[in-house]
Amino acid sequence: MSNLRVAVDIGGTFTDICILEEGSGDLRIAKVPSSADPIDAALEGLVNAEVDLADVTLFAHGTTVATNALIERKLPHTAMVTTAGFRDVIEIGRSTKEDLWDAYRDNPPPYIRRRDRLTIRERTSAAGVVEVAVDAAEARALAGKLRKRGYQAVAICFMNSFANAANELALKAILEEALPGVAISTSAEVLPEIFEHDRFSTAVVNAVLQPVVGAYAKRMQERLAAGGYRNDLLLLHSGGGVMTPRTVDRQAARLASSGIAAGAIANRYIGKLCGYENAIGFDMGGTSTDVSLVWEGESTLTRDWHIEYGHPICFPSIDIKTIGAGGGSIAWIDEAGGLRNGPHSAGSIPGPACYGRGGELPTNTDANLVLGRLGGNLVGGGLELDAARARTAIETHIARPLGMDVESAAKAIIKVANANMADAVRLVSIMRGLDPRDFALVAFGGAGALHAAAMARDLAVPTVIVPPHPGVTSALGCLLVDIRHDLLATCLLDAATADPAYIESEFARLEAEARERLHHEGVHDADIVLTRSIDMRYSGQWRSLAVPAAIPFADVGTAIRAFEEAHQREYNYVREGAGVEIFRLNLSAVGLTPKAALKRHAPIDVVPEPRARRGVVFDEGGLDTAIYWREDLPAGARIEGPAVLQQFDSTTLVPPGASASVDPWLNLVITV
């Protein structure tokens, strides 16, 4: 048996497993229902797929454990200790609401309630001078109170600690001694960055997640080891890299979007495989769609994200926009007679009307079924669809009120869904001044390939790529990443007078820490790639731009010129003669993991025979349409639309006028 690489993507409904054979590049997939303890399903799936853990050289994992713990608020009893006078930073936030107009829609409350937020006298100035030191007696009294209340985790969050963390660390030392076994996060260690709300919020998320994901990672590592796996479990984090259970304690908050990042990574990988440096990832599932963007070979990153509104997690993270549109989104008519689609979803229970589980409202899945775009079953026959129920739902709720026939109503439902999703993609891409004609649309998720061609036409994107296993593409993403840490140092300096030697020494400090972390994770020096950048801004402005920084850093002038060029490009202007400030030093530290290549198949020029034909309704009307099994199609196969490609985990629609071919990695490339 040759060496295997395994990736497991545990979602709410299904656990997807990707198994890659290192020698041949063969890829196998498995899909099992998720279990109460998510680890059970992962191991069961491996047993079903006849994988011996002793053969596994790399086990990577994207998990929703942290995300779900935050959403469901199943969090350990956690305290926050903060500067006297600043007890409510995480409750005040930036004072805005997600829904500006609905006064009956509240923001989610903070992860730590006011009763669990304690204060202590201490103060550091903006310049980093300790004005009031932590009093040891007061700290010990506080520790006694914390112990009595039985907290499992504590977040220490002090004002201006980004400039000098001495007070936070002093309290941490006292609490660690007094509260053995309690997980303690300090804001400056988690995210040494100016702006108290961003830093405190990130530290609080880290504190509440630390016991949750720490225990989870440990348990999973132990069960894998018991099965014979000898290496570190690799956990996917929001920045698009992986980390090992040994770093989880310090960076638990980075796992908050572990499960979502995988799709974006797969998007990048598949786009590159097909020769596209620019790709829009379109991952459409049952209740929502994740859109990600790759520009010039890199996933776009953001520091502005959250699991719940008002509680930012400010680590650099792959920028993913989630839209409330999926196969299960419900079509409805509003009181003024407008045809609407979503954001309410039938979910998996009761599900679309055609599932026959009690759902009566029409969804996108029902409309696709009525139009013949979906066949009579899903999940390789595991789920029979009831077309009569779908027709009834559409007839009752859409067709009759609008005075249309059922097929027209179904077409209308899909068109509205596609237009909504195209608008959302437009906001994340074209908005940035990027031309869609330079992109490919990579479509995956259970429903992505059904809608992708129409979306691409609307967006003027010329090419759609559907990977070989659209339903488990996210899991594939887990296999393709390197160990990555993002370190930063807030460093507020007037660029005109900044001492390059000091900046170099700060970078050197970050690099030493990065190497130590990567060594700790077993990465050799030869596999370490360090990339520096500096965030700069005009003095008095809040918005900063990152520019590359040289190794060694010897000349501030070059950085200023790079900043001005970037400002002109990004914001259309340069402020002649205005002061420029150095704001933050960033270091991305990557530990390269050896990549295994997917198997390349020799293309054969063939126009395959369809398995069947049926009537499918397109924009042009009902057409006799060829139905293919995706697994029948070898590399090199060519297909002309209209056609429907069915497979275990997804269905692809090739509309009339479009053509498709299968590439050597078995991706379907559709020219729309």
């Binding site: 006078g85 805005t96 100016i194 702006f195 407008g338």
Partner: protein
């Protein structure tokens, strides 16, 4: 659904829905562009709005993130440009306007308008409005509370052209920019806004290309019809009738002591709503007057709060009529000062909250805290160079208690919920002011069966400065945030200043140019929201939970709610309700509270001055308004405030 549906006529439902969303999407793209490329931090913190208007200037779509105070004014501005220039509008033109007397809000809100042509025909306008950081006038930031006319406030820009057939009119732009304190930032924001209007044009022309020009212009009309239909259906479901109320601005600095009424009568007749502001006070001797644009914005925003899912466009305006008496505080004419229009704006909005609370009790809401804005300016003497600094600071506060739910705590004001507060660490770095406290205030929420949301206190110390002054723009130091359905008021706004070696002084909620020196300490707070329902009906367990979180103190649990708690373990924040004592306390309050409200006001003020009564008792039990520093009774204000408590509280007390 058994409601009658009158679907859009000329367009098929798909095209209609796609275009309806596409128009909003265009405005969202404009907003992204403005935020990305703007110059000033005021705009960056979201003090801007955008719109797409049809050829006649009617608003087709506004952004969902727009500030309330701009809503419902952008079509007036567009129509004003059309009226001014008539046939003289050409492809490649760009217009600028900030005139509050023709439907704008105040001089700071400056709008850039681009006419959009398709095949030589004017089919639409895109409009980007931004709050410019300075418009000239007598003070930096252009808010002079002593201004009685516009000549102290800033430069008035009637509709002018800043681009003519694709050529930039640099002379006009410079004339405007050089009348402000920061010409570079003004030009920068103007460019950012212009760019946003061009993005809208590009996107709209893409749609024209795909669907045809006629389909687009038809859709403009139909999305307005659609919103009008939706609003009228909602209104038709509500009972017919007429409801009225009054809210107040604190004072007319040029007149005698007494609250300044803003009256609103709502009449729902069939499927339309009329707002009649007759009886509102004449214009006052400060900048707290409102021209008609701001008044209309308040009415539309108040409505939108109760129909939050109805999209914003001119269709909504058609279902609404407004009567505002000429030359009143809600319809100020040139050249009356209006830069503080938001004070009237918020009073109208809160009055509408109260009126709709009666019509739609399921969405009822008491009064919210008042917007406040502290401006500190001077020379930073911390290091060499002594640069001039300006610290503009605003806070969040509490919104009113709701039917079945406590109010929203520490939220931006109803002026615009999208306006973000700033990080303290950023302020401390840029300005020589240290913040000593920014925290939720125990007992700041108006008591009620469902209490208001909580407010904040912010305290600071002036570090090394030269020639430093404070100006403060706020209100509701006297017309204190009120409750409904028996709920109680919250607490007064106002700022305290303690100069080195002097006793603390209460400066109130509105003043300008007060000198401050290094070492001075100051603090001010925001009110919580007003209470909803009789506080004696609040579930004692909820009061207990509030005490555990220090939202309510043990003392006020007893005095406001009649709930007596015993401390089980202070370390664990464990309390228990003393059921018997609570019953007795509640009975005693119920027996006395009518009389408290009638007690001699001067005697109450005297007890406050003597330290026998605390401020919360003076306000919540006795309805008495004082100068909160000196304790001097404000007799006229008290009379009006008590009349309101008798109307809003007493009938609901069992």
């Amino acid at each position: 659904m058994d409601k009658p549906i009158t679907a859009a006529s000329a367009l098929d439902p798909v095209t209609f829905e796609v275009l309806r969303n596409a128009f909003v999407n265009i405005v969202d793209q404009m907003a992204e562009q403005v935020r990305r490329t703007c110059y000033s931090f005021v705009v960056y913190n979201r003090d801007f709005s955008n719109a797409l208007c049809d050829a006649a200037g009617n608003t087709v779509a506004q952004g969902n993130q727009d500030l309330a105070a701009h809503v419902g004014t952008l079509h007036y501005t567009c129509k004003a440009v059309i009226e001014e220039f008539g046939d003289d509008i050409h492809e490649g033109d760009v217009f600028l306007v900030n005139d509050p007397y023709i439907g704008g809000t105040h001089f700071s809100d400056t709008r850039v308008l681009l006419p959009i042509f398709c095949d030589g025909e004017l089919i639409a306008w895109s409009q980007a409005n931004g709050h410019w950081a300075d418009m000239g006038g007598s003070v930096p930031g252009s808010f002079d509370v002593t201004a009685r006319d516009m000549f102290k406030e800033g430069i008035r820009i009637p509709p002018v052209r800043i681009w003519r057939r694709g050529e930039y009119c640099g002379d006009v732009a410079r004339l405007i920019a050089k009348n402000t304190r920061d010409p570079e930032a003004i030009i920068g924001d103007m460019d950012a806004q212009t760019q946003a209007t061009r993005i809208a044009a590009r996107e709209l022309l893409r749609l024209c290309d795909k669907y045809g020009k006629d389909t687009i212009t038809t859709a403009f009309a139909e999305v307005q019809d659609y919103v009008e239909r939706a609003v009228r259906l909602r209104l038709a479901e509500l009972p017919d009738g007429s409801w009225e109320t009054v809210d107040f601005v604190d004072q007319d600095p040029a007149g005698e002591e007494g609250l300044i009424p803003v009256r609103v009568r709502l009449t729902i007749r069939g499927d339309s709503a009329e707002f009649d502001l007759t009886g509102s006070h004449g214009t006052i001797g400060s900048m707290y007057n409102c021209a008609f644009g701001g008044t209309f914005a308040a009415i539309v925003s108040g409505m939108k709060t109760f129909f939050p899912d109805v999209p914003l466009n001119a269709g909504l305006y058609r279902a609404v009529s407004v009567i505002a008496p000429e030359n009143s505080i809600v319809d100020a004419r040139w050249p009356v000062a209006v830069s503080g229009f938001v004070m009237c704006f918020e009073k109208i909005m809160n009055a509408i909250f109260e009126l709709f609370s009666r019509v739609m009790p399921e969405r009822a809401m008491a009064c919210a805290f008042n917007i406040e804005y502290l401006q500190t300016g001077g020379y930073d003497a911390r290091g060499d160079g002594r640069p001039y600094f300006m610290l503009y600071d605003w806070l969040a506060g509490g919104w009113g208690g709701r039917n079945g739910r406590d109010g929203l705590g520490v939220t931006a004001s109803c002026f615009g919920v999208g306006l973000m507060i700033q990080p303290v660490e950023g302020q401390e770095r840029l300005c020589p002011v240290r913040t000593d406290k920014l925290e939720i205030v125990t007992d700041s929420a108006g008591p009620g069966e469902f209490r208001g949301g909580v407010g904040l206190d912010k305290a600071g110390t002036i570090l090394d400065v030269d020639n430093c002054v404070f100006s403060y723009f706020c209100d509701r130091e006297r017309a204190i945030v009120w409750g409904i359905e028996g709920g109680l008021p919250a607490r007064p706004h106002g700022l305290w200043l303690e100069r080195p070696g002097e006793a603390a002084r209460f400066l109130g909620a509105v003043f300008s140019d007060v000198p401050v020196t290094s070492g001075a300490r100051f603090w001010r707070g925001t009110s919580g929201g007003g209470g909803y329902g009789d506080p004696l009906q609040r579930d004692p367990r909820r009061v207990l939970e509030d005490v555990v979180d220090d939202y309510v103190s043990l003392e006020r649990a007893r005095r406001d709610y009649g709930v007596v708690l015993e401390v089980v373990d202070a370390d664990l924040a464990e309390y228990a309700v003393d059921e018997a004592a609570t019953r007795a306390e509640r009975a005693a309050i119920a027996a006395h509270r009518h009389a408290w409200l009638e007690e001699d006001a001067e005697a109450v003020a005297a007890r406050y001055r003597a330290g026998e009564l605390d401020m919360y008792d003076v306000i919540r039990r006795h309805g008495v308004i004082c100068d909160w520093g000196s304790g001097e009774l404000l007799a006229n204000s008290t009379r009006e405030f008590r009349a309101q408590m008798r109307a809003r509280c007493v009938p609901h007390w069992q």
